[in-house]
Symmetry: C3
Subunit: 202 residues, 3 copies
Amino acid sequence: MSSQQEEVASGIAEGAFVHPLADVEEGARIGAGTKIWRFAHVRDGSVIGEKCMLGNCTYVDAGVTIGNLVRVQNGCLIYNGVTIEDEVFLGPNMIFTNDLYPRADGRHWVIVPTRVCHGASIGANATIVCGTTIGEYAMIAAGSVVTRDVPAFALVRGNPARHVGYVCVCGAKLGDTGLPTDEPVSCVKCGRTLVLSTGDVR
Amino acid sequence: MSSQQEEVASGIAEGAFVHPLADVEEGARIGAGTKIWRFAHVRDGSVIGEKCMLGNCTYVDAGVTIGNLVRVQNGCLIYNGVTIEDEVFLGPNMIFTNDLYPRADGRHWVIVPTRVCHGASIGANATIVCGTTIGEYAMIAAGSVVTRDVPAFALVRGNPARHVGYVCVCGAKLGDTGLPTDEPVSCVKCGRTLVLSTGDVR
Amino acid sequence: MSSQQEEVASGIAEGAFVHPLADVEEGARIGAGTKIWRFAHVRDGSVIGEKCMLGNCTYVDAGVTIGNLVRVQNGCLIYNGVTIEDEVFLGPNMIFTNDLYPRADGRHWVIVPTRVCHGASIGANATIVCGTTIGEYAMIAAGSVVTRDVPAFALVRGNPARHVGYVCVCGAKLGDTGLPTDEPVSCVKCGRTLVLSTGDVR
């Protein structure tokens, strides 16, 4: 392990920025180039990668792992049990849960894990019920309540969220729901060609 | 009245904790063992019981009463007119309202009361429209919008929230909707036996 | 231009109030009589009118314009591209978006504008998808997700929000959905007479 990595392992990396009105606890690990803004709170025992952005009033609980190049918009709350892979977008005021049977008396409380895969986007004010996996590059529409796994590249919306189509790596809609096929689909917006069954992008 | 109770009546009880980044106004009453975290704001004229937890960025308005052993998660906003009984769980970013006809010009504004009864749980990002009563041990699913009264032990979900079943004291689902009967129901998770028509728990 | 207006153009007007725990950036313009509360953040390049109220943990992005007599409740987030006209009510934790294809990699990001017209009200925890216009005195029910334009005086609710009726200037419900007609409608609550097709109020 290089001396720089050891430094990251034990606190805030050189080149990270923490606003004076944020509170980052001593045992949190913050990667280089990451910016943490006003009234944010990052707890001891969380790991945040490089070049991330955490907006105002965000919360990162103990036990949370966040990859690189992740954008966490204002008011977003990330609880213990949640893993965020690289290049994920978490919209403002969106929220995770980590308990299927919440009660004030937390004695029998069991943390249920949730994963957001590479490149996925979760819209503003969305709610992600724990125990779900959000697939690569999936798009959760604003205000959705996600109660089931979301396939890679899927567009879901509503309460409960329903699968209504597929999106491109760039976020634009590709086509309606149906089983992902081996037929390549072209994105009108960015020109990429995607094979939904394999996730291959050309 | 004992001297300890008098102390509670006039401010923050001995044994309560207020984080230095929270703002508790002078006339608020905070019970012993209660913890109030970062960027929380508790207003003059509110009453909070013992052994409660108020998370980051929570707001307790003037005129609010909160019982004992209540958990108020991050970003939860509780407005004047709301009463929270003992052992209630208020999920992160859930919100109450207190005005059926909100307008910027608040001159003709009428506060409509809301009550959350003993042991109830309100999920993350849920919205409780004022004038409703949430029954004992009821469970409001994450992201729900509650526009009507919720019976004791009921599980409701959706926008608007619909009654889809019943839950145990421990939070686990007991059975589907229907009139509560005198037949005892057993909880698979915790083993309790419940009579839904009377609320008796064995 | 009067000397008072020049003063407003360059910062915080005399007679405005900024709580010591709020952060108003230097280039923001704040009108006289406006109050900005705890943990709020107002960015450089935003313009806020007179006699507004911005609650705790609110966020006003660069490029946002807010009129006079606007109430912005706690936790409300207003992003670049949003214009708020006079006498608008923005409920607690309600949120705007400004990007139809949000991705963590924001390189190809296009701001899509949203407008909230004179006197409209947006309920608690509502989500307004960008590119929409909320008509004069429209009422967005709490927890709604607005994905299309909302006509003047319309009441909408649900996810996605659907047009279910009309409301008066005072906020009370007037009647069910249908094309606005030339027939005057009387408000049972405040006594006003309204012609919905023209917006004339008597």
